[in-house]
């Protein structure tokens, strides 16, 4: 009954994430890694570990942006479609004869990166504007932009991937060169002594992004506002926090992260497809939630999200190497997500009970 929560006798405080939860997910990751290492010879090899990092990087970058949004008690369903739309528009830029003629392969690659990030941030601003100023529910707003962006990606490509140059084309060599430049970002590896094949560039981008995200969330005024808005929008507003601006910014960040992921995927695959990124939004939400971000807002961290993404990555990799059928992998992944959320509910209840005692 609504009146129970009113007046003097408010319900117990939702306390900040206690220690148990802080270490629970890293422990689960360590445990899972240990089991995999025991069962699978070569799981802990440098080559396999860097493969996991490479496979995790796109999801982790999407999940980082998602973490900003979820900490404000929002949700962003549009990121998967942004990966597709940003990817195809960047690919069109990259392989456009006119662009290549004017600025060359490196210039075209830089322009393509800007297009990918710009499309993502632009859709993010639209999402954020509708959530912050028109006060539409985030789920609905981003469901709409998710559908519109996917449709636009199919429309501009006619449903086929962009990027495979025709060998008979006059600018064939230029286009291949431009794709090579972007491939160095999305699929390249930096040689490291003792590491066969080198360290994947997208994993470096991911680590840099997570580090930057962690800095913004914990060390900047804006980051503090993100937690405050998610914890109590009204208390934040009455404290002078510019709530609409904060909300707009988190969706813009999530969109820009999706744009970055789009560019990395384009580089990796050497093409941008209108069906790329399907269900990526759900994997990103899963990584953030497993990493300790509460869908109710107010809690979460960039490093936690990285660990959530790694946990999913290790699970996928181990099941792959064990030869488990793809269908069973999906079922296992679902089970892990459920366990993580149940754990979250249990910890929240236990600490709420402790707080009222």
């Amino acid at each position: 009954m609504s009146d129970v929560a009113r007046g003097t006798l408010a319900p117990p405080a939702p306390p900040r994430r206690p220690r148990l939860a802080k270490f629970g997910v890293p422990l689960a990751l360590a445990g899972m890694t240990a089991v995999a290492a025991f069962l699978i010879p070569g799981f802990l090899s440098a080559a396999n570990l860097t493969t996991i990092l490479l496979h995790v990087s796109i999801n982790a970058i999407l999940a980082l942006g998602m973490t900003f949004v979820i900490v404000t008690a929002g949700i962003d369903l549009s990121v998967g479609s942004i990966v597709a739309l940003g990817g195809v528009l960047a690919a069109k830029t990259l392989t456009s004869g006119a662009v290549l003629g004017a600025v060359g392969p490196v210039g075209a690659a830089l322009l393509a990166i800007a297009v990918g990030l710009g499309v993502g941030a632009g859709i993010g601003v639209l999402n954020g504007g509708a959530v912050a100023h028109l006060r539409v529910a985030p789920f609905i707003v981003t469901l709409a932009t998710m559908t519109v962006a996917r449709g636009t990606a199919r429309l501009v490509t006619g449903g086929v991937p962009v990027g495979y140059p025709d060998p008979g084309d006059q600018t064939y060599a230029l286009k291949v060169a431009a794709l090579d430049v972007l491939h160095a970002l999305g699929g390249g590896r930096i040689p490291l002594p003792g590491l066969p094949g080198g360290f994947p560039v997208p994993a470096l981008v991911m680590i840099a992004a997570i580090g930057a995200g962690a800095f913004v969330l914990t060390r900047t005024r804006f980051g503090r506002y993100v937690y405050a808005v998610g914890g109590s929008e009204e208390a934040s507003r009455l404290s002078g926090v510019p709530v609409p601006r904060v909300k707009l910014a988190v969706y813009a960040i999530s969109g820009a992260c999706a744009g970055l992921a789009a560019v990395l995927l384009l580089g990796q695959l050497r093409s941008g497809g209108p069906d790329a990124g399907t269900f990526y939004e759900l994997n990103a939400i899963a990584a953030a939630v497993i990493g300790g971000t509460s869908l109710l807002g107010g809690t979460g961290s960039a490093w936690g999200t990285l660990i959530g993404a790694l946990l999913l990555g290790v699970l996928n990799n181990a099941l792959d190497l064990l030869g488990v059928q793809a269908f069973w992998q999906e079922i296992a992944k679902g089970g892990i997500i459920l366990l993580a959320v149940l754990f979250d509910v249990w910890v929240t209840r236990a600490s709420a009970a402790a707080a009222t005692r």
């Binding site: 009146d3 009113r6 003097t8 408010a10 060390r219 005024r221 109590s232 009455l238 404290s239 002078g240």
Partner: protein, 504 residues
Amino acid sequence: MALLALRDITKRYPGVTALDAVGLQVEAGTVHALVGENGAGKSTLLKILAGAERADAGTVELEGETMRFATPRDALRRGVTVIYQEFALVPLLGADANIFLGMEPMRSGLLDAGAARGAARRALEDLGAAFDPSTPVAQLSTAERQLVELARALVRDARIVALDEPTATLSSRETDHLFAQMRRMAGRGLGVIFVSHRLEEVRAIASHVTVLRDGRRVFSGPTAETDDAGLIRHMVGRDIEYERLSGRPDSAVPATRVGADVVLDVRGLTRRPRFADVSLTLRRGEIVGLAGLVGAGRTELARCLAGADPWEAGGVLLRGQPFRPRTPGEAIAQGVAYLPEDRKTQGLVLGLTVRENTSLPSLRRFAPWGVLRLGAERDAAAAQIAAVELGAGTLERSAGTLSGGNQQKVVLAKWLLANADVLIVDEPTRGVDVGAKIEIHKQLRSLADRGKAVLVISSELPEVLALADRIVVLRDGAVSAAFDAAEATAERVLAAALPGAHAA
């Protein structure tokens, strides 16, 4: 034997005893009034009766049989219905569906909508309702929703019906109709409990009255044996100790404050339908108490002054300059801070630490280029936490783990750090224990002594009397009286606040 007997009901919340061995006996066929100031424990008692809260001690007996209500469903099944001010109706469902919610008539495993509609129609007609039973509740007026709740009680064969301030938003014609229905229910042998602030209504409808104060029963008896002045005296009590401890000088308004600068000058401020044409002034170094009942428009006025809501007419001068904040941020930038009534959802972000809460309005100062200087932030927050006499150990605790009194101190520290010089404090001691109350009073007084202007909204008369240099009373959205501390008495303030009371 009484139809309903509550015996020695005790309920404690962290830091507060909401009910202290309270008893209440309701005879079949009577209307029993339950009165008391805000926070006296009436709502808690109703919640325990309804099975929505569990008592720490004491028993609920229905016709001599001890009840154990674990949920509202249990209470409803035994014939106890509590009708809350906000109602427990699902707005998008029809009146008939609401009436049978949770006890839908079934026929061969399916909803029997026809039977429900027929029975709902009969029950509503019986109550003199003129609307179609399938009308969604969202389209009904408050009075009509009340009839839906009463119909629900009737079809459930309720034996006890308790109404929490049912007349607060009704017209006098609607009130008359409601009273007629309450009398008829009593006439059929039900026990009716009526919670109200309006003494003339208590007198009109109730044969018995019980007065609660500070979680204790201070009077219970036939209405005919008391008069309004007596009831007001019971509600207010004589809390002399409380006044002395608050630390207000016994002299009236200190001479230094009389001529002090007017900081905030409110002229004819209007936001219909909440309040209209409200004027008051607030000087440096002064505490003005804003008294009145819940719903008199005090919080709404405060929110306008704080930039949280817009007003439609009138104006405000801040230090002589026109002041019209469009957001709380603008009000804060000009030194006007609002300390809301609901600390837990509006005053603090419970998931943040005490340090983070304290610095929240002042973060710009600790983040020159957006990057926080955590050391400077910690030092500044620690200084203000010490100024409100909170231990340094609390700095990194999350605000949600503190007691109500300590949470309020964090709110004070936060605005001290923000250098606010007009503080609008809404119910500063609601839900905190007596010791913490006195400390908060001391803090507010010392803020005024340091030159801040403080407007205190409080529904607790002893608090207003103990704290304020001047008292302004709001009634139904308008100023009904203003007193200097020296001439204010509990009786006079309450008489000005109560609609239709004829006391002192």
